[in-house]
Homo-oligomer: 723 residues x 2
């Protein structure tokens, strides 16, 4: 239990608490010193609210779409109601309560006059805003601020605001917009949260029950069902990390209210603690604080976001997980609730332990059988190595056609990249911040990812509905010292001309090398002669290519016409031979060598994004494509090796050239044997049986030596480094 | 005076001190606690020296060129001698002294056997290394380490090392290499420092005097003369900041020894305190800790460098300037001398004051009449705005053909860029780290800078000797609230077809705007019809162009054939009209709009570096060129406006579009009148008389209103912002 909760429990139990059980006679500020993080948060809130109070109560008749004046003003208003309520609770300063009252009385005048918003965005039109979603977000915030001041109001004011604002808003969201309310969808999470919290505040059990169990109270829809269907058993949200963060806010805030008002529901224990799991999973889906930019993600989105300030504080209060203190410390922010205070106090009391970022598999789909994200991490701290295998399902309309794609982070940088969305949030000149045409034509296409493209067309032909019906299968995931490995498969990405793809990605220790290397084995098995392209979107400056590049020096052509190929400038092409099949680049003071196992007629294309981009909407970033033409099947075996360093301060450069002598791939009996030899004589084999039976024994002959292993894959040292 | 010096003065005065006056009987470590920065520095030194000691004494016969084994080993050795000597003085541990002795005895065996180094690099061939310079650096370090242990040696060992190593090395540098020794050049600074410090240690007055006053002891050459000729009166070193940093080390270290051994010379007061001035100037030539990358600079070079650890500690001991503590704090490093100890103690005692980065003019040339660097700063701290006008002379062989070029920094980023050198320091695959061919063909060329190009050819036709004979003239420099301004002129950059260029760059407050804007007035006056190109190398992603760009969408051509134009890909061209003559880009969460005053037939070319670059040696960076063809004279008037913000964390974007409505330029009576109107009705004029008489009064009629000002330029508000 929570110490602060106990301290104030007598007062609290008399109130319908929401997230504000502290609105006691004795304001918090007078009960003792406030910890620095909480104090700083108050200063921010006071700054915002005093600006708003200075401008007076401004509640305009809704007119504008997103980004327009009335839209932004109603957003500012809900933030002011929410924060002023909290400041009243903390300081006891009646001016805050009066401001919230005046604001809500203005809404009480306006709200009953409203019909459909004039700037209707889609089917789900709102009242205060152009879409229902925004109205729900307004309610979630406003009801919390109202809860903090409601007992200061006269009976008449209270009745006016209860009836003319909150009951009406809840009715609009839950009854008039019942279709949205009863969906299993993030928009419904916001709606049920707003309505449910209103129900608690107004002591309206019917409202609460509809929010929790759906309009028909059967539990087939509603908030509880959403917690069961919207997250996978591992707490992964199918749209990806960027949307997971957004979805998390109403889940955590409403759950906090449920825990206080209906503790017997054990909401935080529901479905094996899915909400707390989802919060932790959201954090696991980051590197350096930034979310893996899967799907339509804005790349500069980090843990520094309002949703996560709420999520971390609420989860910390529930779990006392000291790793969450480290996250709050990184954020440098919290929330002004009791949970935020507890977190800030504990943070002030000592140095937090690092959050436990680790190697893990996050299954996708409500049953956990629609693919997965595999995260392989080596080391700790801001410079650690992390490989992310995106073997998830499509993730609905914001999903990208990138089955079995991957990313790599090292030394604080994204080395193998995911483009994210082609969008400049809220930038007027970039189509008002909406998704740009290049989001469809480039960012979503397969060739814009580190994923296999067959015959120059994207997975599922770029059909999102079709894509949503199919998911990869995670075949294997394991982590032992020296070898972390994920393998997944999908046979349905090209329905008209089927190609089975299986990709094994592993972090493998190689004898004599300081850092593990990535080994990537991608098997493609088709039924006709196909062109197979395997792009790698890297970040860095080319230092060396082992192959001779036929350069496009004095003019630059475009690689293709469609499916993203029209956006690629060609820098050059090459035929590669086994002994020179590598290239090296430099990023952030480290070198990276990408090495390809030789195969007949392997071509390499070096290019850059940015062609056919009339409005300069695309970033210009390099890529390399391995291409095999006219083959029914092929296996691309690649290795990515971080090595050396280059330090401008000391003018020192070490190991700027790859330490690996060769990469070989042998197929034998359905096995993939990947042999890595270092220049100093180390020889390491990654032996992959491709057999999911964990107990089955395998063996293969490599250059006269028999190697044996058990299960899906093992790492075998054939020779140590000679020195 | 220095407190520590006094405390140990009895002991010290008995010794020939150099920078190590503390080698007393009582080791420093036992005399009290060591401050954290100094302790950390000791740990680093102990780590390095103990590794070296574990490998035993290894003094190979010189064989290899730079980067090779014997080269690197002799570098490691001098560092080990230097640090082990210091560790002996601090800890009193005889093992360190014995190690230095054994190492130097090995050198005493080797040194007399040496002739010219087999891997002769140039005329100035060394003994231990391939060039004399490296031998001098070896001596500067080794003599300091030797000074710390010399009194622990037997008379026989001392004589062997004195005579067979140090006297011979000094003889080699000062007599056998007299031509280098007597130059007015950075290489001679290292040589005189090494020889002079050896003279102090061996109590050889002749050696000292030759180092201070040149071989003939007339003072026409030698160290003292170097301090007079190599720096301008403002402490600017003509090759630019990157080389200034490098040159500073022997100046500061030898001066420190002179101050201790010949205090009556008042070396730190010499020439109005030029050495301390040069140290401070070196620091002023940075933004965010990184040197302005003028000329052949490596861009990742910052204050975090050995030369500046020495310079800052020595200068702090001399001046007790608390701003230097802030620099040391940023560096997180110091040196193990008494000066380093003093600095570390004072740093540990309290929070340092920020270093006083400010607006200033740094004249170039020994007499201060060979151009200047003008630095205009607005605000303080890591996000401040800084404009750098590079009106310097060529700066010898490492100089770039970029007369009157400029840079802009804001919000922690370089907004208007200088490419620096095309070189990957010590990277084997990039020609062993040497300057790349593209350093000549791109990095040095005028079009690679923010400087005027006439008829597609670089300044001085790219002839470095010719360029060195001419310098710009700084016409004016001033800073008053609301207006900081630099103006400079050069008439000699195109000797065959003369074009006089004058450029005025200013930071100007504009009514109603939060940040000052840059106003750039570049007048070019030729004698024939010329093509004038004014490139701007910006950093950021294009958000908007006010003009319609004829894009090169599906193929990309190269802009020209020579003088750097062959390295520019064309993205598109445009004819601009007055009302749309701007473009906006986004960098680091801020927007920047570049606006051009209309003039007849003004063309704009959008491009990117990286064409004709077979080995991927160039970075790919955007540029915009203003072009006027077939004109005898032209004036380019441009404005750069920082505005708004875009914050991914809060998903907020503010003022993504320029707040300026128009930019006009009027010529009147030899004046340049630049009129800026904001969208909210503010109207500000920058009135430039181009007359250097500070008292002369000027007036001009602007739209029926008479404006008056005095001197070179003033800022005049014609209308405040309407709200």
């Amino acid at each position: 239990m929570r110490t602060l909760l106990l301290a104030f429990s007598a007062v609290m139990l008399a109130l319908a608490g929401l997230s504000a059980p502290l609105n006691a006679q004795e304001p918090l500020e007078k009960t003792g010193e406030l910890p620095p993080l909480y104090r700083a948060e108050m200063d921010l809130a006071e700054g915002f609210v005093s600006d708003m109070m200075a401008s007076g109560v401004v509640v305009p008749v809704p007119a504008d779409p997103g980004g327009g004046y009335t839209h932004e003003q109603h957003k500012r208003n809900y933030r002011a109601i929410y924060l002023a309520g909290q400041l009243y609770r903390i300081t006891g300063d009646r001016a805050y309560a009066d401001y919230v009252r005046d604001m809500l009385l203005a809404y009480a005048e306006l709200y009953p006059t409203l019909g459909e918003h004039p700037a209707k965005a889609n089917q789900n039109v709102g009242r205060l805003f152009w879409q229902v979603l925004n109205d729900a977000v307004w309610l979630v915030h406003a009801v919390q601020g109202y809860a903090d001041v409601r007992d200061t109001l006269s009976a008449a004011d209270r009745a006016a605001i209860d009836d003319r604002v909150f009951r009406r808003a809840a009715h609009f969201l839950s009854v008039e917009s019942q279709a949205t309310f009863d969906r299993i969808h993030n928009h419904a999470t916001w709606a049920t949260a707003g309505v449910g919290m209103t129900g608690y505040l107004l002591d309206d059990r019917d409202m609460v029950d509809r929010a929790l169990l759906g309009s028909d109270k059967t539990g087939n829809t509603g908030f509880l069902r959403q917690t069961e269907l919207l997250f996978s058993p591992d707490g992964y949200y199918t749209e990806g990390p960027y949307y997971q963060r957004y979805a998390l806010m109403p889940f955590m805030v409403f759950a906090d209210a449920i825990a206080r008002n209906d503790p017997e529901r054990g909401i935080f224990a529901h479905r094996d603690g899915i909400l707390l799991k989802a919060l932790r999973t959201t954090i696991q889906l980051t590197y350096g604080g930034y979310f893996f930019p899967f799907n339509d993600a804005i790349r500069d989105k980090s843990l520094n976001t309002d949703e996560l300030y709420h999520g971390v504080a609420i989860a910390y209060a529930e779990t006392r997980d000291p790793g969450l203190l480290a996250i709050a410390d990184w954020q440098g922010r919290t929330i002004l609730t009791e949970d935020g205070l507890l977190l800030a106090r504990d943070l002030a009391a000592g140095t937090p332990q690092p959050f436990d970022f680790r190697t893990l598999l996050l299954r996708d789909g409500p049953e956990g059988d629609r693919g997965a994200v595999a995260i392989l991490r080596d080391g700790k701290g801001p410079d650690h190595l992390a490989l992310v295998a995106k073997n998830t399902s499509q993730g609905m309309g914001h999903g990208h056609f990138d089955k079995l794609s991957w990313q790599l982070y090292d030394n604080g940088h994204e080395i193998v990249r995911d483009y994210g969305a082609a969008r400049f949030l809220n930038v007027v000149a970039k189509e008002g911040g909406r998704y740009l045409p290049e989001n469809e034509s480039w960012a979503k296409q397969t060739v814009a990812h580190n994923a296999l493209v067959v015959n120059g067309t994207s997975h599922f032909g770029g059909d999102a509905d079709l894509a949503d019906r199919h998911a990869p299968r995670q075949l294997h995931f394991s982590s032992v010292p020296g070898l972390q490995l994920s393998s997944a498969r999908i046979d349905t990405a090209y329905p008209d001309n089927p190609v089975a793809m299986q990709r094994t990605l592993a972090l493998v220790d190689v004898a004599g090398l300081a850092s593990p290397v990535v080994i990537d084995v991608l098997r493609a098995t088709g039924e006709t002669a196909n062109t197979y392209d395997l792009p790698l979107h890297y970040a860095g400056h080319i230092i060396e290519t082992g192959f001779v590049v036929d350069r496009e020096l004095a003019g630059r052509r475009v690689l293709g016409n469609s499916h993203g190929y029209q956006h690629i400038w060609v820098d050059g092409t090459a035929r590669v031979q086994s002994d020179g099949a590598f290239m090296t680049w430099l990023l952030g003071g480290r070198f990276y060598s990408y090495r390809m196992a030789a195969q007949p007629d392997l071509q390499v294309i070096l290019g850059e994004s940015g062609a056919n981009d009339p409005a300069f909407n695309l970033r210009r970033e390099p890529l390399v494509i391995q291409r095999v033409e006219g083959a029914k099947e092929t296996t691309f075996v690649s290795l990515l090796e971080p090595h050396g360093m280059s330090d401008g301060a000391t003018e020192q450069t070490v190991d700027s050239q790859s330490l690996i002598a060769s990469l070989q791939h042998r197929k034998y009996n359905g096995y993939d044997l990947v042999i890595v030899e270092t220049k100093r004589g180390g020889k390491t084999v990654l032996a992959i049986s491709n057999d999911t039976d964990p107990d089955k024994q395998h063996r293969a002959n490599i250059d006269g030596r028999m190697v044996r292993w058990t299960g899906f894959a093992e790492r075998i040292d054939l020779a140590g480094e000679k020195n």
